[in-house]
């Protein structure tokens, strides 16, 4: 078994990022979009931790703390917006957001 190097971690985080991106782009329900947004942020977290491990200093991991907080704040804002939208429009699907046009 070759030892697990930095490249492997980056491949995994890149894969996670792409899955998240794909999820955001294609899924219709807002909640699933939020989940894939979270996925993308956590992919970045994984990359950060791997980089910090291979760079030998802790800056990356400190950054992970703050990104988790930011992700939490972001989701709470997103949920609040879904509540606002649901009170207005009874549905949380993306394609009804079409009133603002070119």
């Amino acid at each position: 078994m070759t030892s697990i190097g930095l490249g492997h971690y980056l491949v995994v985080s890149a894969a996670l990022f792409c899955i998240g991106l794909f999820g955001v782009v294609t899924r219709r329900s807002l909640l699933v979009i939020y989940m894939s947004l979270e996925l993308m942020l956590n992919a970045a977290n994984l990359a950060l931790v791997a980089m910090s491990r291979f760079n030998g200093n802790l800056d990356g991991q400190i950054m992970v703390f703050f990104t988790i907080t930011v992700a939490a704040a972001e989701v709470s804002v997103g949920l609040a917006m879904i509540v606002a939208l649901c009170r207005k429009r009874r549905s949380a699907h993306v394609e009804d957001l079409t009133t603002l046009k070119l």
């Binding site: 942020l41 800056d59 930011v70």
Partner: protein, 500 residues
């Protein structure tokens, strides 16, 4: 980590602390004393406390020591960042003035608190040279702006605009974070200076290209450059007026400055050259493509717009294209021209949104036809809208013209023997000639077309506070246009001393 001296931190982050306290104070005032007061009084009190907070922060910023840095780059104090903080505070005061006497929401305290928190985020963003602090303050600004966009409970547009802004913003934040993490991985440090040294050997490392692309995508969203601009028209149209004005002015000033800092300091080694016949790979050609696209698309689509707010949105996209020239010129003078351009652009857009607010209040819609005959009804409003529109088009005696001139001089002076970005400057000037058409369309509605009877007079009294704010902004734009040295002198001295 050496033991951090927290009191020194408090001293350095004085303005931000004062502003945060002011935000909490506004909340407290609104929730405790003003529980049952009518909405006008609550707005007056909230506005008064926020302006007091801004003045306090301004005073605190004045007494700051000339130079200072906390935890190597986390919080950098130098004349340039102080100047930008002052500009952001001025923009905030005018935004607060624009949001008084508007009845789009009952949660008055929260609205003012969020504006102040967004300003805190911008001030931190402007004064940091550390990836962590840049990301956190960028997100603080963006999140408060998302909520500000969603504040108009009654209209469905506001919630929808906020959601679109949020989704784009979230995705861009993820891209930015991934780019920053790759950047950290390659260079081993999170401080911009350390990154530049760390990247010395790795110019053509594929990972660096991915990191660069991701970072540019992340910031591209914030400054609404073309491929990432889709949120801008909807947000400008859907958001309540004061938040749309703040998104257009404040966040653009801060994000352009931090983009310039990251590119000039962080990616210093990979500048490349976007000159006409000698293209060298780097971030300059990448930004050149973005600038070209946003100038073309921004101006051309703005011509067909019927709603003045969407027109301002597309003109904002076009102006981001022009401002990118300042980032690409990668020199102290380029930075100075960028700061001058974005600050004067911020003031002009705020004023333009102020006039749109008053017209919307009187006629209920921001469409072009609702501006008919404004010149006759209220001459001051008509005159200041003419000042704002002509300054955006770049007509001389106004600030917009000198801003563009200074930008183009900086851009052409980059590779001075071979007049570097002259092709982009030619496109920029041609496009600003095109932009004169749709700015004159607005002025035609104001001055030439007679007021049709259809524009019913919705509310009798015009909003005095907004009128004075709009008038003051118009005077400021004319003053900065006729005597640009008021702002260019200090900015140039500051960029010189900041060692850019």
């Amino acid at each position: 980590m050496s033991s951090i001296d927290y009191f020194q931190l408090l001293k350095l982050a004085g303005p931000e602390a004062v502003l945060a306290l002011a935000a909490l104070a506004v909340l407290a005032v609104d929730l405790i004393w003003m529980r049952e007061a009518p909405i006008r009084q609550r707005q007056g009190a909230g506005a008064f406390v926020s302006i007091l907070g801004c003045l306090g922060a301004g005073l605190c910023a004045l007494q700051m020591p000339g130079f200072g840095s906390f935890a190597n780059g986390m919080l950098v104090i130098d004349p340039l960042t102080l100047l930008l903080k002052g500009a952001l505070l001025v923009l905030t005061v005018f935004t607060v003035l624009l949001s008084v006497d508007r009845d789009f929401t009952e949660h008055v305290g929260e609205f003012f608190a969020l504006i102040l928190l967004a300003t805190v985020g911008m001030m931190l963003l402007v004064s940091s040279e550390d990836l962590l602090m840049i990301f956190v303050s960028l997100e603080l600004t963006s999140l408060s702006l998302y909520i500000l966009t969603a504040f108009q409970k009654r209209s469905a547009l506001s919630a929808e605009a906020a959601l679109k802004y949020f989704l784009f913003g979230g995705m861009a934040a993820a891209f930015l974070l991934f780019g920053l993490s790759l950047l950290y991985g390659l260079s081993g440090s999170t401080h911009l200076g350390g990154i530049a040294e760390g990247l010395v050997g790795k110019e053509n490392d594929p990972l660096l290209i991915v990191a660069l692309a991701m970072t540019v995508i992340g910031f591209g969203f914030k400054i609404a450059v073309v491929p990432f601009h889709l949120w801008a028209p909807d947000t400008y149209q859907g958001a309540p007026l004061a938040s749309a004005a703040f998104v257009a002015s404040g966040s653009k000033v801060a994000s352009f400055f931090v983009l310039a800092k990251v590119m000039m300091l962080g990616f210093a080694g990979v500048h490349g050259d976007a000159g006409w016949r000698h293209l060298i790979a780097g971030w300059a050609p990448l930004l050149a493509v973005l600038a070209l696209l946003s100038m073309l698309l921004g101006n051309l689509v703005a011509i067909v717009q019927g709603n003045v707010r969407r027109l301002l949105a597309y003109s904002a996209i076009a102006h981001s294209g022009y401002a990118l020239l300042g980032v690409m010129s990668n020199s102290g003078e380029g930075m100075a021209s960028l700061v001058y351009y974005t600050v004067t652009y911020g003031l002009t857009t705020l004023g333009a949104f102020g006039v749109v607010a008053l017209v919307e209040e009187r006629t209920g819609s921001a469409s072009l036809s609702s501006f008919a005959g404004l010149g006759r009804r209220s001459p001051i409003l008509g005159l200041s809208m003419m000042v704002f529109m002509l300054s955006l088009a770049g007509i001389p005696p106004l600030a917009g013209f000198f801003g563009k001139f200074y930008l183009f001089v900086g851009a052409i002076r980059t590779g001075s023997p071979n007049i570097g970005l002259v092709w982009l400057v030619v496109v920029a000037i041609a496009m600003s000639a095109v932009s004169l058409y749709y700015y004159l369309q607005v002025l035609k509605q104001i001055y030439v077309t007679e007021e049709s009877a259809a524009t019913v007079d919705v509310t009798g009294e015009t909003n005095i506070v907004t009128c004075c704010a709009v008038g003051a902004l118009a005077v400021l734009v004319v003053l900065l246009g006729c005597f640009p040295n008021l702002l260019v002198g200090p900015v140039l001295a500051a960029t010189g001393s900041a060692g850019l």
